[in-house]
């Protein structure tokens, strides 16, 4: 073995560390590995940059106020307003159900769950739902809501199926946010004579708010783009025009009704692509995909930003 002096033949770095000692071969391997590992990081950034650039270019000249606020058309470029509306509608409806349920379940798993059979069963269920393919969750919604409940394709059925699919994620993120609260805070509160629930309500939850909000936004991002769950629950079709002044919730024509078929942006992309019809198919899909990516970016950056601001505010107070 040729022992080499770490200080010889090396550029004077700030920290000639011990790990550089070894045979020339192992040092070469070490350098090669370092380069390769940096390469993976660079690759991810390059791919992401290329994707964003690709859609920015593809959406150029397609996405405009009239595309976002217009009705779909068979003969012209048209717009995506009813479909975008459906995406937002289903997102809001899903989050209204999934967030309270997920946070409650998250509190239970973080603060109460003991080492017993019920906890094991809940964890197993959590992992199982997370691993069930989204299309199978959609099929479950098809049997339950469309067929058994006789709702047909409906925004509510889609939202409930999405809730099923995302409840484990919301629960896990909520649990993580709560577990991140230092144990001392709980002990101090309990030592002052507060009950467990008072401790959770007035001490743990406020401290966990930044994490909870991040969790909500990350879940929202996933709900917004999901298509396979919705394909067979909220339906595939192209709504032509919505009258937003129709507030009759029992009417399937009202865009406010939860019991109407509601094609979302992701489902719309899939459907346009499979039907393969229309002169402006490519442009419409590019535009819709660009809107989806933009919203995903906003959700992600928003989650980070809000989380950071809230943490700073709460820790400074």
């Amino acid at each position: 073995m040729t022992a080499s002096n770490p200080a010889v033949g090396r550029p004077a770095g700030p920290k000639p560390s011990l790990r550089r000692r070894g045979s020339r071969g192992s040092i070469l391997a070490d350098h090669a590995a370092t380069v390769a590992l940096w390469g993976t990081g660079v690759l991810v950034l390059v791919i992401l940059g290329a994707i964003i650039l690709h859609f920015a270019l593809a959406a150029w000249g397609v996405v405009s106020p009239s595309f976002i606020l217009g009705d779909p058309s068979r003969t012209t470029l048209g717009g995506v307003l009813p479909i975008l509306w459906n995406s937002i509608y289903i997102l809001v409806l899903t989050m209204l159900i999934a967030v309270p349920l997920g946070i409650l379940a998250g509190i239970y798993m973080s603060e109460y769950a003991g080492d017993n059979i019920a906890t094991t069963a809940i964890r197993f269920a959590e992992e199982s739902i997370s691993s069930v393919p989204s299309i199978v969750v959609g099929l479950f919604g098809l049997i339950l809501f469309v067929d058994d409940f006789h709702w047909g394709f409906s925004a509510l059925g889609g939202s409930l199926a999405l809730t099923f699919f995302n409840l484990p994620l919301m629960t896990r993120l909520a649990e993580q946010a709560l577990r991140a609260v230092p144990q001392e805070e709980r002990s101090a509160s309990l030592a002052l004579g507060a009950t467990k629930w008072q401790t959770i309500r007035h001490v743990v939850l406020p401290l966990a708010i930044p994490g909870l909000i991040t969790g909500v936004i990350l879940t929202a991002g996933r709900v917004f783009g999901e298509a396979a769950v919705l394909l067979f629950t909220s339906g595939v079709g192209t709504p032509q025009h919505y009258n937003f002044l129709n507030f009759d919730l029992t009417s399937v024509a009202s865009p406010w009704s939860p019991f109407r078929p509601a094609t979302t942006l992701s489902v719309y992309i899939w459907n346009l692509n499979s039907e393969g019809l229309g002169a402006f198919k490519t442009q419409i899909i590019d535009g819709s995909a660009a809107i989806l990516i933009a919203i995903v970016l906003i959700f992600n950056l928003g989650a980070r930003f809000i989380g950071r601001v809230l943490t700073r505010r709460l820790t400074a107070a």
Partner: protein, 327 residues
């Protein structure tokens, strides 16, 4: 609900009279919220299993026929045969190739983030990965159609690359090649599972105690020797878990694969062939078949197969992790 709350209040009063705050209604409510996941999964499994066995029970199709290679579900085209083997094989192979591409890359990325990257690099790459997770599968599929598929079609029509000794044989393709293929499906999937495998492996590497690293480096190993001989073995079960989770995601992904794989229900022979996976066939046919027909029942059987794959992987992850805890 109201009845339950009342009952709780009564028992609470009996146990600790006067201490209303000790009744712990919140605890019960939260337990119900958490336990609702058990109900969801039980219902889901029950319904899918029930629908999935109809092909055998109601339509009298034998298990042997399921395991045959011919998919001819339409009675109008003559005698039907519900062979699911093409879909199962395709799912396995498309997933396997996706993992072969993705695992080294993802584990490398996890090592980069946990061992090599300075703080600023991690602060850029980690958010980028989160954005990867957020990109909807239809968008991945559409990206595949607009960029990857034409690229593959162009590359493998190129006579120079086909005349190369090994490349030409591996990628040989009869007749026309439009790029929609097993390879396209695997490539799209490999990017889609990258964040999953990376983040789970990253957690596994972070969980290895810092003392082991410093101990190894103090003995004079290089960082790469430390990673290879200490970190990878120590985090092996975590990395395996990551690969299994990636596998589950890849096998269950429906729309992106359906968009690029070409949708041909045949047995896989070459990586440039169009194929159909379980998920993509369900996606394609479920809307066009009548409820209760043997054709649709076969689709339900496929979803039961998918469900079995995913439950198996959950159990597998548990076994892998139990071994780690036991050791």
């Amino acid at each position: 609900m109201a009845q339950m709350a009342t009952a709780d209040r009564l028992t609470g009063l009996r146990a600790r009279p006067g201490l209303l705050e000790r009744i712990d209604v919140p605890r019960r409510v939260m337990f119900v919220a958490a336990a609702s996941m058990i109900a969801i999964v039980a219902l889901l499994m029950g319904f899918i299993a029930w629908q999935g066995i109809q092909l055998f029970v109601k339509d009298g199709v034998s298990v042997g026929q399921i395991l045959s290679t011919t998919w001819q579900p339409d009675p109008e085209n003559g005698a039907t045969n519900y062979g699911l083997l093409p879909f199962i094989t395709a799912t396995v192979l498309v997933t396997a190739v996706a993992l072969l591409i993705s695992t080294p890359l993802s584990v490398g990325l996890a090592l980069f983030l946990s061992e090599v990257a300075p703080q600023w690099a991690r602060a850029i790459v980690q958010p980028a990965l989160e954005i990867f997770v957020g990109i909807p599968s239809v968008v991945w599929g559409w990206l595949g159609i607009t960029t990857l598929v034409p690229f593959l079609a162009h590359t493998f029509h190129d006579p120079i690359s086909l005349s190369l000794p090994i490349v030409g044989q591996v990628f040989s393709m009869p007749g026309f090649f439009f790029g929609y293929s097993w390879l396209a499906g695997s490539l799209v999937l490999s990017i889609m599972v990258l964040p999953t495998i990376t983040s789970v492996s990253y957690d596994a590497f972070r969980a290895v105690p810092q003392e082991l690293r410093t101990g190894s480096l103090a003995l004079g190993t290089t960082r790469w020797q430390m990673i290879r001989h200490l970190l990878l073995p120590a985090a092996l079960s975590g990395v395996l878990t990551a690969v299994v989770l990636g596998m589950t995601r890849a096998a269950g992904e429906a729309l992106a694969v359906q968009m690029v794989i070409g949708n041909a229900p045949i047995m896989p022979e070459a990586i440039t062939q169009p194929l159909t996976t379980l998920t993509s066939q369900i996606t394609l046919d479920m809307g066009n078949t009548t409820f209760g027909s043997p054709w649709q029942d076969a689709l339900w059987t496929m979803s039961l197969v998918l469900l079995i794959i995913s439950v198996t992987s959950v159990v597998l992850v548990r076994v892998i992790n139990k071994r780690r805890l036991g050791a």
